[in-house]
């Protein structure tokens, strides 16, 4: 694993490929987060809302995406995390998490981040500003 000391503009953190999305994962997120909107867990409710099936919580995908940065906890922390929800995540979708360094200042690293599905479409995208500790 490279450290964030070495990273250069244009470099990417190592992608993470998630397991295909399954229902129990979304039920667990509902329980852990307290977001029990039934379009994320119950087929009939998703259909009533005009969806072809249940969809993942946007915040589940955003929560997953941040784990690209977790291994660097001794070097700094996520100061700003900004996400737009671009597309829906359905059951069995295969999501890949990505981060590319866009800008490097003294102690701030700005990454373009996104989660894409198996068709290569962004489901969420945005920016992470990682603040590095100076000592």
């Amino acid at each position: 694993m490279m450290t964030l000391q070495e990273i250069q503009v244009g470099d990417s953190l190592e992608d993470i490929q998630l397991e295909p999305v399954d229902r129990i994962t979304l039920i667990k997120y509902a329980g852990a987060s307290g977001d029990f909107n039934p379009i994320h867990t119950i087929d009939e409710e998703a259909k009533k809302a005009g969806l072809p099936g249940i969809i993942a919580h946007g915040m589940w995908t955003m929560g997953n995406l941040s784990k690209l940065f977790t291994p660097y906890y001794e070097e700094g922390f996520i100061q700003d995390y900004q996400i737009r929800f671009r597309g829906m995540v359905f059951l069995n979708d295969q999501i890949t998490l990505k981060a590319e360094l866009k800008e490097k200042e003294a102690n701030k690293l700005s990454f373009l981040v996104k989660a894409i599905n198996q068709k290569g479409a962004d489901v969420i995208n945005g920016e992470v500003v990682y603040k590095k500790y100076e000592d």
Partner: protein, 149 residues
């Protein structure tokens, strides 16, 4: 229809960054890193304890903003931001509240859409802000019609 609520805040609610809740949350996003879960890793880190994942504030109770009656169905989460002064520490108490930051309507593909911007804050026991977050919630015309009394 929510314009008159701009500037309204909820009263602060005391929340605790509970070890068990952090563990469950980390599991649910598949981020089982020892810095969130393992006490020894926490003790040996610069934080001298465990921390919580950056989207953990989704768990907190932010209190109720008077007259803001949002349905629990039919809302679309458009955007989300978090800003941190430092990571959240497992075991600490955080005082949370929300404010209606903005509301506007815009013509979109699904008719006239309402955009509600809620800003939330978490302060530590000394009153220092640890994080703030902004959620943009999109309310479709169909849902707004149901809400109008």
């Amino acid at each position: 229809m929510f314009k008159h609520l701009i500037g309204k805040q909820s009263a602060k609610v005391k929340n605790s960054v509970e070890r068990g809740a952090v563990k469950k949350f980390a599991e649910s996003i598949g981020d089982l890193h020892p810095i969130y879960l393992d006490e020894e890793t926490g003790r040996n880190s610069r934080y001298k304890g465990n921390i919580a994942p950056p989207t953990f504030p989704r768990v907190f109770d932010y209190g109720t903003i008077e007259d803001l009656n949002l349905p629990n169905k039919g809302l679309i989460h458009g955007e989300q931001t978090f800003h941190y002064e430092r990571p959240l520490l497992v075991g600490e108490d955080i005082y949370c509240y929300s404010e209606v930051k903005n509301y506007f309507e815009k013509k979109g593909t699904m008719g006239e859409m309402g955009f509600l911007v809620l800003e939330s804050f978490g302060e530590d026991t000394s009153g220092q802000i640890v994080f703030s977050s902004k959620s943009t919630v999109i309310i479709s015309e169909a849902v707004r019609k149901v809400l109008v009394p």
